[in-house]
Subunit: 346 residues, 2 copies
DNA sequence: CACCCCGATGTAACCGTTTACATAAGACGG
DNA sequence: CCGTCTTATGTAAACGGTTACATCGGGGTG
């Protein structure tokens, strides 16, 4: 048996298809009795408008496409949660995929998605958003998530990685640490580069403390490896890992080396993933309002779609979360409240 | 400027729309020169077929809809990851939403999705899948994720919660614990009920050890509350939490009460979320192959779509992961390898 | 009473594909 | 030299909505 179509409903309700359509779109004027008959017939036939036909006719899909570099871990599940809440609130659908962090793959996925969505949200920390925009053919609105290369005029919702890393480094210095090592994210990753720069600038600003950098890849294993490397030389007072997963890896390695955190070596991370506060010791880190970022990015998409206007970018200033691992004498939450800056579109 | 249509491509390539369509669907026979002209024209115009029009014509969307009760935490991000990998491998798209765990909301979401997808995958631990199937109008294939009520003939991919809880309880008994308390998931949740039953059956099988059950809601806070309640009475030898998040809550509460895990009280969880092995002590738990479950559920969908056949269900037997928190004298991984059972469809 | 306006509804063109069927052009055997 | 059989291509009718425009029946106004 075929699905019921608008013509079936029209016939059963003894009206024209136009009237049925008007009822379902709350557009135009329909008399009360006609509306009631239509709704009854639709319920009776279990009619649901065919989204393909509708999108063919209206040139809208009511769907937002999201491409993330990865789907692994709590960071992304938080982001997806924020995005899903916002799309739902707006009656939009969410088409999801990931790109294995590979820009070429992102392009492929983008092309496959582009006729199915009204707008795209992409997180691609590996520069060159020009390629992405090109893959969209310039017709589908694009909103960027997280830091990256030149936004090319597209709205971007990102974290101020530099400010976060700077604040954390300052905190570690304030706690009395002098030899502060940094475990960086992978080369080419722009978020990683920004965090590294924040660390360096803070060291420089506080009297030129010596820097020591080991490169990881944001994974737990690379964090453990990095800690191993750092312990091979003269022991640092503190290790600042470029994200929490690497901090966890460091923690494991330090524990295995028989060192106490924070007494022997202090430790800090970045992201404030939910695990962090359950570690022993609880991890000092930088809190990133990730679900909120996703939510606002969706709002931005919706606004672009509604108004056609290009939409504003926004950078979220993250918040320091001080816990036991950094060896600060005070343990309350430092009050660097989330200051958000509105930027004019370039 | 309009997006290019198949007619634009046909005109530029000096062929008919049928030929263009044949090229893009690798169907029918097209001469080499014609194919080349079509591809050139398409590339030139940046042509991408309109998915709405295509789905109108073919009655397919190449999309699978997924509804989860929640998107919070690592459990779901793992599941989504598994699902996404499989859909991608099959050239399918993934439309995602969640239902706040509410069956009514699940129904609403289902209705909104049903014309946009070829098949639905739903995780709804609150019984009554009949409602879900009804919301689909019986035309869209449905695959169930996780345990629930009567599957009504739909394939289901689930964990053997009973076996997992039974094995864990047996392990705790084997480690010498006698007063073993259980922190259950919420009433009405079928997965929770199955785990509780596994715990009870194991106690009974091992000489009728006394049971002690506190009800939580799978959240960390409820775990802490439950531990508080348990410590108010005579102290149990071991606490078996119905999932890892509650185990974490217990761990916090026990620590605050000045008790050592596992020396004063042993602790175990369920799910083996990635956090678990980073806790102090690392948590003994039950590993659930969640990404794999998602992957196979997608394969099942794809098979149903390809063959029209109803598809088989599958129950995954989870694996015990023994770490320090359970106070077992041996610490190696018990060899209860993942035995998977194929079930005939009901 | 002629006219206009307005609310309610219907008609039919259009959105961009796929595909059944028709057609055309050679090749080939008789 | 004419059917017949391939191979390659074109024509046009769906698919199921939306919506511009036409129509129609009253009610008010001059």
């Amino acid at each position: 048996m075929r699905n019921a179509t608008i013509r079936d409903v029209a016939r059963n309700a003894d009206v024209s298809v136009a009237t049925v359509s008007r009822v379902f779109n709350s557009s135009g004027i329909v008399s009360e009795p006609a509306r009631a008959r239509v709704l009854a017939a639709a319920a009776d036939l279990d009619y649901v408008p065919h989204s393909g036909a509708r999108s063919l006719s209206t040139r809208r899909t009511d769907t937002i496409g999201v491409i993330l570099p990865d789907l692994h871990g709590e960071f992304f599940s938080e982001l997806i949660r924020g995005i899903d809440l916002a799309t739902r609130a707006r009656g939009l659908h969410l088409l999801l995929s990931h790109s294995h962090g590979d820009p070429n793959e992102a392009t492929t996925v983008l092309r496959a998605m582009r006729t199915r969505v009204d707008a795209m949200m992409v997180m691609s920390p590996y520069a060159d958003e020009g390629v992405l925009a090109a893959a969209l053919g310039g017709r589908t609105p694009l909103v960027l998530l997280g830091s990256g290369g030149d936004a090319g005029g597209h709205p971007r919702f990102a974290i101020d990685n530099h400010a976060g890393a700077y604040a954390m480094t300052a905190h570690l210095i304030g706690a009395g640490h002098e030899r502060i090592a940094f475990v960086s994210g992978p080369a080419g990753n722009i978020e990683a580069a920004q965090r590294l720069a924040g660390y360096r600038d803070a060291l420089a600003a506080y009297g030129g403390l010596p820097e020591q950098v080991v490169v990881g890849d944001f994974s737990e294993q690379s964090g453990a490896r990095a800690a191993g490397l750092l312990l091979a030389g003269p022991r640092p007072d503190a290790i600042f890992a470029g994200n929490d997963m690497m901090a966890i890896g460091c923690l494991q390695a330090l524990r295995e080396a028989g060192l106490k955190v924070p007494d022997d070596v202090a430790l800090a991370g970045f992201d404030d993933i939910p695990i962090s506060r359950f570690l022993d010791p609880p991890l000092t880190t930088v809190d990133v309002p990730i679900a909120e970022l996703g939510r606002q990015a969706v709002e931005s998409c919706a606004e672009i779609l509604a108004t056609g206007a290009p939409g504003a970018s926004r950078t979220f200033t993250p918040e320091l979360v001080i816990r036991a691992s950094s060896g600060a004498t005070y343990s309350d939450r430092q009050d660097s409240r989330s200051i958000e800056e509105e930027e004019a579109r370039t």
